[in-house]
Amino acid sequence: MSILIIAFEGIEGSGRTAHLEAVKRYLEKKGYGVVIMGLQMSKLIGDRIAQVKKDIIFERRTLFLAYVTDLADQLENYIKPSLDAGFIALADGYVLTLESWGLVRGLEREWMEDVLSVFPKPTLSFTLISSPEEIIKRIIKKRGYLDPLSTGIDLCIKDDIYTAYESYINRFQEALISLSNKENIIHTDREFEEVNKEIVMRIDQLTS
């Protein structure tokens, strides 16, 4: 069986994890083995990125390469062996999410694409887009507050964290949309079930 990766691309709060989890349950019910990968989830360097992020927030290239290393470790040591065994991999953030992160921080698109060219192309890719209002509400519900480190504070130093975040989300999602195929874009500021149905329909086409 060839490598089967389904990527969920989007900013934090776009519904990446929730939709990935729903698809995981769906696929498992249908009898598929599923493995999950995602940003900052590697054994090699995932925890360390979380620890040092605030110290290297202006070292964009370093942070980008750290994220790439993190993804590569998961792919090589965990995902590839599972795919060989017939599993489907679901990625909670993949190359487009990373590239969007870099684009809004001024990293060169060509350089990033060269670096990322070593990763296998996902079989199916969903670009999840939502309104800043909705995204911010989801994050506050989940964490209880807006974490300055994930709000793109290195880009938008503004009077208040809400406005900073709003403007960061807009820039990030503009970048992500510009990188994505139109037919892969899914708007998640709707009923969860409705969005899930749309995603599952696409996956059914693939697995049937």
Partner: protein, 213 residues
């Protein structure tokens, strides 16, 4: 934009380049601000690399990427700001170390070059060239053990350290020789005495420093 001078040292383990880099720094510091940075020395990554090598967790690709991350950290944090503010920055190993080590592990040179394309090219790159046999003799004389990474333990597992060292470092020398011309290496005969080598280096560097002020 750049006011400083960037000097790189390349060569196999045991070639003497680290001593030369450090001697050069002392000399430059008498007249200019100088900074010396070593390969694989980012404060927050080098211990992960060390641990991962020990546990054999790295594949050729992650070996390449994690060293690039280490380099980028030192580049963004130290090398670039220092060059912009006029320092003479001396690198004990620079991107060419990645070129040779990554390709010896099977990663494509083209890709590695692109990975490091953000890094400015040095004003001078000294390649201290010695045969692996000579480097091995030096290490033995200094009574220190051959480190697993010097013996390419990840690509030649199971070989006795000395044999691994010769085999691995021979591949590295071949790669260095292959890229030497394209990358404008100043090739230094590492069989000369350390003093002779340092004099040769200072002669070349002296011109750059005088012209860059």
């Amino acid at each position: 934009m750049k006011k400083g001078v960037l000097i790189a040292f390349e060569g196999i383990d045991g070639s003497g380049k680290s001593s030369q880099a450090s001697l050069l720094k002392d000399w430059i510091e008498m007249k200019r601000d100088a900074y010396l940075t070593e390969w694989n020395s980012s404060e927050w990554i080098h211990d992960i690399i060390k641990e991962a090598k020990k546990k054999d967790l790295l594949t050729p690709l992650t070996f390449s990427l994690i060293h690039a991350t280490d380099f980028a950290d030192r580049y963004e944090r130290y090398i670039l700001p220092m060059l912009k503010s006029g320092f003479v920055v001396i690198c004990d190993r620079y991107i060419y170390t990645a070129y040779v080590r990554d390709t010896v592990r099977g990663v494509k040179l083209d890709w590695v070059k692109k990975l490091y394309s953000f890094a400015i090219k040095p004003d001078v790159t000294f390649y201290i060239r010695v045969q692996p046999e000579v480097a091995l003799e030096r290490i033995k004389k200094s009574k220190r053990k051959i480190k697993p990474q010097e013996a390419g333990a990840d690509i030649f597992p199971g070989l006795p350290p000395e044999e691994g060292f010769l085999k691995y470092q021979t591949l590295i020398v071949e790669m260095y020789d292959k890229i030497a011309k394209d990358e404008n290496f100043v090739i230094i005969d590492g069989n000369k005495t350390p003093k002779e080598i340092q004099m040769e280096i200072r002669k070349v560097v002296g011109e750059y420093i005088d012209n860059s002020v």
